[in-house]
């Protein structure tokens, strides 16, 4: 089930990041075509392609674009979320480093669709090389006249907070404020960056756009499932033979991904668990991997496609320790704005750590589950719900392993 390479088609070329290589492989021809299309037609084409956001939420991209108010007179902003921070995810980094012009071409087309004259690319602070490659590509695009003629791109570097990958946290940070997510409504498409209508798209999502325009919505939709078109890039890490980024259809199963593409469990060990969509996705047991990786397939399996960061654990991995690491991450990265998230991520981390250290109490597990469930859905952004995914699923699916650590 290794589909045609689309996003990663040039990755093998050492000079894939250059304008020269991009042009030699058909780069910027989709932009030429898009310039002949009315903006509404571009949005419609993206809608028909069933492209869904690949940053984590899986929202239909064309639908999002259509939320920009038609009558709006002032500026509209396009923001590209390159703050890739979801643990287990490293695909956008590859795109920025190896195909930066695809991001720029996708932005040009999206900007035409939403009538935006300014785009911002918010690059994760730790991504130094991706930033350099992308900034160089932006200069090349200006020199070649793709940018600067009705559309400008501003490259902005983040300062290392996970929450700035949440789209409204990102907007706050871009505005020069503390990276706190904003209350919704209003949604960014109505009132986003600097108070103007704003579309925030993930790097990988925007890279798909030139291909959809060049080859048509029907072609793209046919690559995936009924409700989600195309391929996507899976970041596979953990206890597998060949960790790395793999491009495949959204309809691939988790088993195919782990065994066929990533070469199976290291040392032919027994698969214990897989996190399919980055650390915020609920964990699956080793016997639950016959599911398709599309948004709806994983949702039906009780987890989520998220950012497609696939974290593989074999029998050598302690699930309680893994949860402690994850819980420490969420306690550290909670922005502190909403009370339930601010207070309980720290508390839950303390309880999990105590269990791992052999100082657990009998009621700790039920307390963690109860606290997590009570906090779920009560906050401004999805961060806390993302933390609840692992809190609940690790304990529910591997409860005996936790109980074994609690003194009788």
């Amino acid at each position: 089930m290794t589909a045609e390479k689309i996003l990663t088609r040039n990755f093998a070329r050492a000079d894939s990041h250059t304008l020269k290589a991009y042009l030699e492989t058909g780069g910027y021809t989709a932009w030429q075509k898009a310039q002949t299309l009315p903006p509404a037609e571009i949005t419609e084409e993206v809608k028909q392609s069933n492209l869904r956001g690949l940053g984590g939420a899986g929202f239909p991209t064309g639908t999002k674009w259509s939320f920009i108010p038609k009558s709006h007179g002032g500026p509209v902003y396009l923001v590209i979320n390159a703050d890739e921070g979801e643990p287990g995810t490293f695909k956008d980094r590859y795109l920025l480093e190896r195909d930066p012009h695809a991001v720029i071409e996708g932005m040009l087309i999206a900007a035409r669709a939403i009538r935006s004259a300014t785009g911002f690319v918010y690059v994760r602070g730790e991504y130094v090389e991706p930033y350099r490659r992308f900034a160089t590509a932006v200069s090349e695009a200006y020199d070649a006249g793709y940018l600067g003629k009705g559309f400008d791109v501003v490259v902005h570097r983040g300062a290392g907070a996970y929450i700035c990958g949440e789209e409204t946290g990102l907007i706050s940070s871009l505005e020069g404020k503390k990276g706190w997510p904003k209350l919704k409504p209003p949604f960014p498409a109505i009132k986003g960056a600097f108070g103007a209508p704003t579309i925030v798209n993930n790097v990988e999502t925007i890279c798909h756009v030139p291909h959809i325009i060049a080859r048509g919505a029907a072609w793209f939709a046919a690559l995936g499932t009924k409700t989600q078109g195309g391929t996507r890039m899976y970041s596979v890490s953990g206890r597998v033979t060949r960790p790395g980024v793999y491009e495949a259809s959204v309809a691939i199963t988790l088993r195919q991904l782990v065994y066929d593409l990533a070469g199976g469990v290291t040392g032919n060990g027994r698969l214990k668990a897989v996190v399919p969509g980055g650390s915020s996705a609920a964990i699956l047991r080793g016997d639950e991997i016959d599911v398709t990786m599309d948004v709806d397939g994983l949702r039906n399996a009780g987890t989520m496609a998220g950012s497609a960061g696939v974290i593989v654990m074999d029998e050598t991995v302690s699930i309680p320790e893994a949860l402690m690491v994850v819980a420490r991450f969420y306690a550290h990265e909670s922005c502190g704005q909403c009370t339930p998230c601010r207070e309980s991520t720290g508390w839950i981390y303390k309880m999990v750590r105590r269990i791992v250290e052999g100082r657990g109490r009998k009621d700790d597990l039920d307390t963690i589950l109860d606290v997590a469930r009570r906090g779920a859905g009560t906050t401004i952004c999805a961060f806390y719900d993302g933390a609840v995914g692992p809190y609940v699923s690790y304990i529910e699916k591997f409860r005996a392993e936790f109980e074994a650590l609690i003194p009788r």
Binding site: L183, S334, T339, R342, W347, T367, R374, T378, I380
Partner: protein, 527 residues
């Protein structure tokens, strides 16, 4: 106007009203911490959850505008459970140090725990520790462990004073309120952050550890600090006189008035009450003869003043009234002046430094009743009266409250006037350089020791009420003047402030129809 239903009751509210305010209209309180009607919506405490029909899960009421046909339920099981959970989250890292916390007794963590929490505590791990007893500025102390990070204080400094000293630093459960580097919380309204802090995180350095709040009694009042006339409450401690070093007035708090001061008062007003219990208070009538000061009875003092008003020709008498006097006092004074035909009267004494002012509340005129004194026709030429005293034309000078030696007038000339005048009478609350020159001193009650009305710069007449008894033998000026009037042979009925106001309203057309009842606690704007 959207029509909606809250807990089965129909309510109509102006467009844009949020569900907290809509519920308030029908007497339903939706618990909340971060929401404050005078600040932007933060939506971060997550306590104000309500159920809205056709909405899958509880929604925050503060950020939800009322919409026509909306059906809101504030007391469903699901909402109650959510509130309980949010209360638990707020208290996980709270130190629970109520016995030593100044906020105890007026703390919204205590109140809401009793109303909406009542869970059994489950947090048995070490709490997060943060800085305690951190002075943020001259008036405000921070205990970061008690802080629930509602951000009201941050928004106040960003949106009301626009001074932006405060921020929330760090992340997650290590977040804490703090000052931006190089700043201190010293803006002219800093005390308001203590009022809007729903917990014991921000306490008042002037008030903390002075009196437990449950010993305080309250009286509605008006700030006398400038011509704005901010509405306030006077909090006094009479039940535990050994607390607070004998200071009876414990603190002043703003009282909401949409037309005057909204929710706020300035620091100058808030902390401007020290003179009430100060050592300089004048406690008994006194006379000065040949340089020796001795106490006198009120009968002697009134008799001496009335005698002087009779003895001197009207043109030999000058009166410097005060714009700090209430309308009732000024009216009683006018009656005395009319009785004797005295024409030399003024009330304006220019300060040495012009008063500071801004566009929020603070007025340059540091007197609460200049407008009232104007409307009662007392606006004469004060400098001319002093000049007449210097020229020995005015032989009896009666000064109310002012220290004429501490004003913009030339001190040497004033000094010459005070030396020249054969009889100097002083009526005021506290001793000053002018009162020390006086031959007769009549002690007056401060504004918290009596009732009355002020007319603010916009022509709003506002009532203030007595919070404590006058100190010593001090009397309200209207009472002193009424006694003088009686000594001059005019019958004065029941000595109450309201009587003088009724007489004033009957005599001065612009006040026509006003009564204490119609002024109420919100004040009444003159036409």
């Amino acid at each position: 106007m959207p029509n909606l239903t809250i807990n089965g009751h129909a309510v109509e509210v102006p467009p844009g009203t949020n569900l907290i305010e809509a519920a308030r209209k029908i007497g339903v309180e939706i618990p909340h911490y971060c929401y404050h009607p005078g600040l932007s919506i933060a939506g971060q405490c997550r306590l104000c959850m309500v159920d809205i029909e056709k909405t899958p899960r509880p929604t925050i009421a503060c950020n939800t505008p009322a919409v026509d046909g909306m059906v809101v339920l504030t007391e469903t099981d699901r909402v109650k459970e959510t509130r309980k959970s949010i209360m638990e989250f707020h208290l996980i890292n709270h130190p629970l140090d109520c016995p030593v916390c100044d906020q105890a007794g007026e703390c919204w963590l205590q109140i809401y725990y009793m109303q909406h929490g009542l869970y059994d505590p489950r947090m048995r791990d070490e709490k997060v520790h943060k800085p305690k007893a951190v002075p943020l500025g001259p008036h405000v102390m921070l205990d970061a462990e008690r802080c629930i990070l509602c951000s009201r204080c941050v928004r106040f400094c960003d949106e009301v004073t626009r001074t932006g000293e405060l921020g929330i630093f760090d992340r997650g459960d290590h977040s804490e309120i703090g000052l931006f580097p190089g700043t201190e919380l010293a803006n002219k309204y800093s005390g308001n952050v203590v009022d809007i802090c729903p917990v014991g995180a921000l306490t008042d350095r002037d008030f903390r550890f002075a009196v437990r709040v449950w010993y305080l009694e309250r009286a509605t009042s008006i700030c006398p600090g400038c011509a704005r006339g901010c509405n306030i409450e006077v909090h006094v401690n009479r039940r535990r006189p050994h607390h607070n070093e004998g200071r009876r007035v414990a603190r002043l708090k703003p009282r909401f008035n949409a037309d005057v001061n909204r929710w706020w008062i300035c620091d100058a007003g808030r902390y401007g009450f020290a003179f009430v219990d100060d050592k300089t208070r004048l406690l008994a009538p006194s006379r000065r003869e040949d340089g020796a000061v001795s106490d006198a009875t009120w009968e002697e003092a009134i008799g001496a003043v009335a005698g002087a008003l009779r003895r001197f020709a009207p043109d030999e008498i000058g009166v410097v009234a005060s714009p700090k006097m209430a309308n009732e006092d000024l009216w009683a004074l006018r009656r005395v002046l009319e009785q004797r035909g005295i024409r030399r009267v003024a009330f304006r004494v220019p300060p040495r430094e012009p008063g500071d002012e801004d566009t929020v509340l603070i007025r340059g005129d540091k007197n609460p009743n200049s407008r009232g004194a104007e409307l009662l026709g007392l606006d004469g030429d004060g400098a001319a009266i002093l000049a007449a005293a210097r020229a020995r034309v005015v032989k009896c000078l009666w000064v109310f409250g002012h220290d004429l030696l501490q004003c913009a007038w030339d001190a040497a000339e004033t000094d010459a006037a005070l030396r020249a005048v054969p009889l100097l009478i002083f009526t005021g609350t506290n001793a000053n350089a002018t009162s020390e020159r006086a031959h007769w001193v009549l002690p007056a009650a401060t504004w918290v020791e009596r009732e009355g009305t002020y007319t603010n710069f916009e022509g709003r007449v506002q009532r203030f009420r007595a919070a404590v008894e006058p100190l010593g033998q001090a009397l309200p000026e209207w009472d002193i003047l009424g006694r003088v009037l009686q000594a001059l042979g005019v019958e004065v009925s029941a000595p109450r402030a309201e009587r003088w106001f009724r007489e004033l309203a009957g005599a001065v057309p612009v006040f026509a129809g006003l009564t204490y009842q119609s002024i109420g606690d919100g004040g009444a704007k003159l036409p």
